[in-house]
Each structure stands twice: as structure tokens, then as C-alpha cells.
Amino acid sequence: MLPDELLLETLVGQFPCRESQIQILGTFFNPSFPTPPCVVLHGLEATGKSSITKSILKSSEIPHAIVDSRECITGRQLMERALASCLDAISDIEDVDLSAFWRCENLSALQVHLELLLQNQKRFILVFDGIDKQREASPTLLPALARFGEIIPCLSIVFIISVPSPRSFHTAGIPHVHFPPYTRDECIRILSLSPPQIFEDGIDNEVNPDYDEEKAAEDDAFVWSRFCNIVWESLASNAACNLASFRAVCDKLWRPFVAPIVKGDFGTRNLPRLVVHTKPLFQNEDVLMNSIVRRDPTKTTKPIITHELPFHSKWVLCAAYLASYNPPRHDQIFFMKASEKKRKKKGGDGARGKASKHRKIPRSLLAPSPIPLDRLLAVLHSILPHSLPQNADILTQLATLSSLRLLQRAGVAGSDVLDPACKWRVNCGWDYVVALGRSIGLEMRDYLASGQD
């Protein structure tokens, strides 16, 4: 038993705060104990389920295979991948006649193949990682896989899922191991294990000859652990409480936080003043958002080149927005080429005077309604200050806008554009359209039935 325990000790060192889970799994996957035919590991994101399973299996001598469901885009692919990874694992140990296994379309095939493959094995562990998120999974997938362990005696199956549901496996008595999310202290403890450096470029020995690597490492650890505390209190406790996102936020803020130390404005132990100095960092919540382009606030931004839509495309888009969000019965009020006076009389006050009895959801909060092409064009002609010749250019722009997905074809997807029943719908937000309207001198609010505030 000693070597096993030693092994577990190292694992516990590797994955702190997960002692009990490692203990349980270590027992499950111990070659000298029987393994249950089916085990469920559950826990939220970033709680160490997959990596701990992987390490334990790696350290034990039992042959195993791991299938990641996220990489399989169909149920069929999951079957193929499961068989392929089992084959890989087994062929390392013994000679397998690969020609027998050339295809695996469904669950039954997988079962037959596994039975054939594992007939000489004593034990084999097959791990399905994230199987509850499998795309195009058949409804029988989980219950059937859970029974594989009963049909094939040497096989035991491990499911890694996020939230367990008592009904999903259709069997009772499956051992569940819960991986709870890390608490505040655990998170900070884990992060404190690997402090990043304050002085990235190395220490300048000429300025301060006493300051050596060891002291620097000590300072790193000191500042980092306190820094993590501050980040947790200010930002992460509400918005980034899983370990991965907490780490990401800390990493993002670390360099700007220690910049004054590197510059020499503050000493490494002068933390309170440094915190006061860098307070704005912890008040700005932008770091919590993932951005596809990393914007460095310190860098001077390049002159931004804006690519603008062609002049008339903007008008088309505005017209589409108005047509989508205005009910057709108000068209007479807003788009008739009548005099301003008449328009006021018809709309406006009279309608406002009568408050409707039952409250309606404002139109602006609803999805845009589909509009026929001719209504769009009619609105376009009425809001345009100049006359627009009826030519192919406008239709080309409609096509371009629809391939940019600013304008969408509504109704049955892929319906014929030439079909008179084909309708359109605008696909951009109020703010965008307002800015667009202003750039061409159109105040959208003047034309919208439920005025936006």
C-alpha cells in the first residue's frame, strides 16, 4: 500500500484542496480493489475533474482511454472516437487484429467491439469527459453507456459531467463524486502557489547589490498573495468566482498593478500606498469581460480607420429598421408625404391622450417584425430627402446588407428571394441605427412610433 499512498501524496501536492476526491478516486482506481462498473464525477467548470482523473489514471497501471465529448460534433463521432482510443490503449499492451474493427456506427456496434476487444483484459477504464454536453446525442446514450459495465465485466465507465440528474442514467446505485467549486481561501491558496515575477527583466544588481533572486522571490510571493486577496474582494467575488476566470483576471491586472514598483515609485513592502495609488484598476470592471482583441490602454492607439457603409446602404438600413419597428397602421402618420401640420394632427396628441387600459410591451423591446420588400422600399423613398432612381444598385445593396447579416430574410430559412411572400427583418440594434442615422442627417426618433428614450 505504501507506494500507492506516496503516489496519492504527490497528487495531493499537485492538486491542493482536493484531498478527499483524490482519496476516493485513488481507491476506485486501485488495481487491488474492485472498481464499480460505473462512476459519475460531477462539478462545475474549473474544479479539476478532468485533470485529476487524468493524472490518477496515468499513475495507476490500469489501461484506460479518455474521450472528450467537446471534440466530437456528432454522436457517431463519439462512438468512433471511443473505439479508436480504446484500440490505441489496448494495442499498446497486446497485439490486436485491427482489421476486425473498421467501423462503429452506433452504441450496439460499440458494445460488440468492446466485448471483442476486452475479452482478454482484466480491467479497463473508459472515461467520457463532458458527456452531458455531447452534440447530437441520442436519448439512450447515457443509460446505455451506464450499462456497459454490467454487460462487459472488465469494463468500468467514468462519466464526467457538470450537474448530475438522478434520471439521466436510469439506474440506481451509481457512485457519485462531487467536485465542489473552490472557496475564496482555496482559490487564493492555489494561486499563491505560483506567484509571477515583479521584475520581468531581471533584477538590476548595480542599483541595489543586496537584493538577490531569493529576496525577489520572497517579495513576489508576498505581493502576489495580497494582490490576489484584493482582486477577489474587489472584482472576482461576484463576477469571476471560478478558478480559471479568477486567474485570468489576476493575470490581466498584475502587470499594471506592479508597474509603479518596477518604475521605482513604491517599495515592494509599501503595499497600502500602492493599493491606494492603483485603486482605479480595481474599480474598472472591463477586465471581467473577455475581448477578442486585447486592448492595451497604455499603448497609444493607432488612428482608427473606419469603414463606412455606402451612403445609400445607410438609408436602406434605417428604412428597414423603421419598417420593422413601426406598426404598418402608423405608416400614414409617419411616412405620408403630407404637410407637417396634417401629420401632427393625425398622430401625436390624440393617440397619447388615450392611455390604453392594458399595458403593452413597448415595441422597441420586442424582436423586429418581418416586413415585405415593398414596404421597406416605400419607407426608404419617403424618408429620403432626394429622389432615388429605381435601379439595380439599390437591390445590390439589399443583397450586400443581407450577406452582412444586417438585414435578414425572415420566415422559413432558405426560402426563395423571388417568392412574393419573402419577408425581411432588420438585424441591428437601436444604438447602431441611431448613429447611422445621424451620420446621414436623419433623426430616427422623429419617425419611430414608440419614441425611444
Binding site: D68, R70, E71, I73, T74, R76, Q77, E80, R81, L83, A84, L87, L98, S99, F101, W102, R103, C104, N290, S291, I292, V293, R294, K302, I305, H307, E308, L309, P310, F311, H312, S313, P372, D374, L377, A378, H381, P389, Q390, N391, A392, D393, I394, L395, T396, Q397, T400, S403, L404, R405, L406, L418, D419, P420, A421
Partner: protein
Amino acid sequence: MEHEKTYVFSSKSERPNKRRRVEPSGLDSSWSLREQTYQQLWREQQRRVQKVLDDANRTTLDELLGFVKESEEVEEDRKLPSGMILAGPSIAAHATFFDQLSERIGEETSSSFTLITSTDSANLKSLLKVLIKSATSQKSLDDGEDELITRKRKGPKILDYDLQLLHEWALDNDNPQVIVAFRDSEAFDENVLSEAVELLGLWSDRIQFVLLFGIATSIDNLQERLSQRATRFIRGQQFDVVQAKEILERIFFTITAEENVPLRLGSQLSRVLQERHEEHIQSVQDFVDAVQYAYMAHFFANPLSVFLRLTLDFTDLAKEHFTAFRNLPSFRRHIEDLLKERKNVSKVRKLLDSDQALFDTATNTIRRTQNAVDAVIQAASVLYICRSHFSQMRSVSRSAFFITALAGQLSASPTLREALLALKKCSSDVLLRILQDISPVLRSPSDSMVSNIQSRLSNLLRDVSGKREPLRSEHDNRNETQRTTIVASKVLLSRHKSNLSEQDAEYTKLLNEFVNWLSAYLEEHLIDPKNLFMHELVLYDLRAPHQGAFVPQTRHAIEQALFAPHDYLGCSCCVPTNDASEEVALAGSTPPTALLYRLYLESGALINVSDLWSAFNAILEDGGEDDSSKVMPLFQQALAELKTLGMIKSTRKKTDHISKVAWRGL
């Protein structure tokens, strides 16, 4: 025979009545010469355009290649290096850009480049299939196609959308970078794109992926569409492609405003093209096509364009060319001008009688006309440069400026006056810069004057080099003071020039000289090209062919044909009355579909079919058709045709009604 579906056509006569004329004669005889000239001139223009296009994208392409190479070295776990290419709203331009990119990547790196468009990725599976197929089918580094097969592992086959395939291919080929370019990222389905990014992100620890997104709107837009999980995998960097507007401006400049262009686009056509591309399309390729069309139209439709050939022999031309030449408006004007001076009568007689004399005159004059147009362009660019040094001037785009110049509207314009006034007030440092800038533009004869002034100015400046302030002219406001005197309760405003220093006075003299020369120069050269003899050959300025070819009025054509079939049929039965205000009366002789369309126009959004039928029937009865069994099929056919045209559709709102879908004039 029309009841049979197919039949054998047997012609009655042995030979067709019409004989083909093999030898071109008359005006057609110069066709091959014109084609050669066209080829030659257009090739030259195309080369210039291509150069502009290449130059425009070079910086962006260089940056992108640098990014791709750099990302090979950066090790950041599970993040996909991604280039966000902001390429503008013209999707057609994306294609050219990505073609150039794939070419450069193929030449300069060992990465494999895969272009994915929205059309071949309706769902994740097909996207992956395309990705794997095109990535693995590219050059394998060591001709290893055979090897690929032999090294392929045994066992179960891999599905063709499994990235394992790509992984194995990469292992066989030294694990190259796989560049995946989503050309029109907006057109992708959001879920498909997010899932694809996520999946590639999961595999990025085994395969080195680099993603490129072609973006037409903005990065924020893309970010909104991607899922949070996909966003976490992306480490992006932004790249800007030169704006389409900017490239258009440059191309316009190369095509019309460079020196030694034998054929230029006239002001009207240029303005139309310019407006169209600013307001509607913004497509560079389309603009180049339009210019090419102009060249083709000029050379293929205008026989006199043969005179643009550099070497032309009198014997090359048929007699008809000279007849055509004598019909040119500018030729007639030229003759009339000559006749005004009485002594030229013999010369005029010769031009009218002798083809040889006309030929000689034409070949001699055409260079002069070209030079005159060149001079207009040159003067315009001098003026433009001068204006650009004064910040308070209203900024006009360069192309618009040249269009005005080509229309001959610049010479007496406020723009010109304003510039000259500002020039009178400018200080010595600005003048020096202007002189430096315009001297390369000017050609030799006028250059001497400029260099003369330039050298004198630099001498003058050397004398006063101790002074920090630049020299000012006497017209400068800073040399004036305003005095207010009150005499007998009236306010008198008077301006007084402060005393000029000696150098300032000398500078003023120099400046006046320059301004006088410049205004004379501009006056001389900024002429209306339409007044030049033979301007029809040197400037192509017809709008109508372009409108027909590039901006067809499809819907208008159909509506017009249905509304007024007489315009197309030209039959005698339904000639419109001369009274233009009154619409054509509905007559039984008009085609049934057109008739029904007129009735359709008169009705509201919902149309009762029975009413429609009775109106239709009544009109046909007036026209002499009283058998309703013959009218009914006509009615039904007309109704079906309107439905096919997308004008009506059946509705469930009311029984026996159809609803109107298309309104006229939209």
C-alpha cells in the same frame, strides 16, 4: 406544327438569303486597328491600376505575414492567434484581398492556408469537411502523398469531419501552421462560427491554428456574435485594410489625371462613376470594369478613335472615316472659326475637299489637343497643391477637384479666386513650401519662372536668416491696424498699413510677381476641354451606355412594359393620345396581362377577383370580344402571369380575394 413538342426543321431554300459579308468595309475597316490600339492602351492602364492595388494592400499584407510568422513562436496555451482584418463593407473586395494573402502566404511561409466562406459552411460538419479537405490537399512538403497513405494507421476509418485527420496530416508534414481564414465572417451563422472557433481552440494544443477573420462592419459586432466560450479562445489583433474610398480615389487619379494618358474620361462620366461608387457600391473592381467598358465603347463604337494610334498611315483608312470626321461638331466649329478670319479660305477649302489634307491636319492636331488636356490636368494639380497649404480652405476631394477642372468650370470659379487671395497673404515659409511642391509638377517652359522665383526667395531668406519670424507680405492682416476715430459723432473706421521692413517689401514684390504669373498660367491652361478641336477623340464622355450596362433599371422596365405596352410593341391599335397628362385609355386591344395590370394598379391592397374579372370582361366586350368562354382563359393566363411576376399572392384574409404585393414606382 406548334402542337408538336419537337419536330425536324427542314428549310425550303438551299442557301440562306442573306450572305455574310466577310470583308469589312467602310467604317468597319479600321476595326482591327482600333482593337489593337485599345489592347495597347488598356494594357498600359491595367498595369497602372494593378500597381495601385498591389501597393494599397502591401502594408496590410506585410503586417499580416509578420503576425503569422510571429505567432508560430509565441507559446500561449490554448489560445488561438487571430487576425481581425477590417476590410470594409464591400464584400467583393474581400475576395481579392484574401487571394493576394493566400498567394503571399504560399510564397513566403510553409503554412497551409485554408479559405472558408459562408456558402460552404451551412453547419459545423460541412465547415470541418471543407477545412480538412483543403488544408490537407495543399502542397505536402515532401511530395509525400504516397507516404501519407502508407503511414496511415490501420484500424477504424476516421470520419471525414474529424480533426484527427488534420492532426495526422500535420504530424506527417513537420506540423506546419494551419491558417484558417473566414472570409466573410458576418455571413456565417453565429452558432456555427462560435462552435468552430471553440473546436479549433480545443485542438490548438495539437495543431497550430492561426485564424483570420474578414470583417466588414466592426470588431465589436463580431464579438457580440461569438459565444463567450469561443471568445475566451481568441487572442486577436486588428489589421486595417485601406478604405475602398481611398483606393478608388487613387485609381481614379491614375486613370484620369496621370500624364500622357491618350484617352481620358470626361467630366460628366467621371462624376457619374464617382457618385455611384460613393453612394452605392464602393467596389474597386467594379470601378475598374466601368473604366474598361468606357475604353471599349470608345474604340469599338467610334471609328474615329483610330486616330489615337501613334502610327497611322493615310492608306489605312477608308473614305468613310473622313466623311465621319467632317461631321464632328468640333470640326465644324473649327471650320467656322477659321472662316471668321477671312484669309484662311483656301485652307478651309482644302480641308473640306482633300482627304489627305484632312488626314495631315488631324494627325498633327491630335497631339496638340492631348497636350492641352494634359495642361488642364497639370494646372488643376498646381492649384490643388496651392490650396492644400492653406488650412482654412474648404477641403475638396482630389477627384472632385479634377472633375471640375475637366468640366472647364475651374477657371472663373470662387475656388480659384479664394486660393489666389489666400496666396497673396501668405508668409514666406508657406510660399517656399508651395514652390517646392509645385516645381516637380510643372514642365520645362513654365518651370524657369518658378525656379527663378524660388532662387530669389531663398536668397532673400538667406539675408534675413537671423530673424526668427517669417517674412510677411503687405496684404497680410497682421501688417494692418484698424483705427476708430469719432468725428462729429460719426465713427470712422480706417485701416492703416504699418510700415513694412525692407525685406518685407521686397518679399511682397516677389510674391506679387508669383501670384501674377500663377493667375496668368491658370488662366491660360484651365480651359474647357469641350472647346478644343477634336476633343471627341481624346475625351470619352458618354453616360448612357454605362447606365444601361452597369445600372439596369430592371423593375422599372417590367413595370413600364406592362403599363404602356405600346412603347415596346409599337402597334397601331393603341397609339397613345398626344395629351400627355391623360393616361392611355384602356382598350381591348392591349395584351391581356397589361390590361389586367392596369386594373390591378387601380385597386387597393386586397383585390376582389370577381370584380377584377367583370372589369376585364367589360373592357374586352367593348373591344368586340363577346364570347366569355374565350375571355376567361385570357383572364386566367393574365392572372397567372402577374403571379409569376411576383405582383399578387393569394391571401387568407378574405375569401375570393388576392393581395397586392408590388407597388409601381418603388
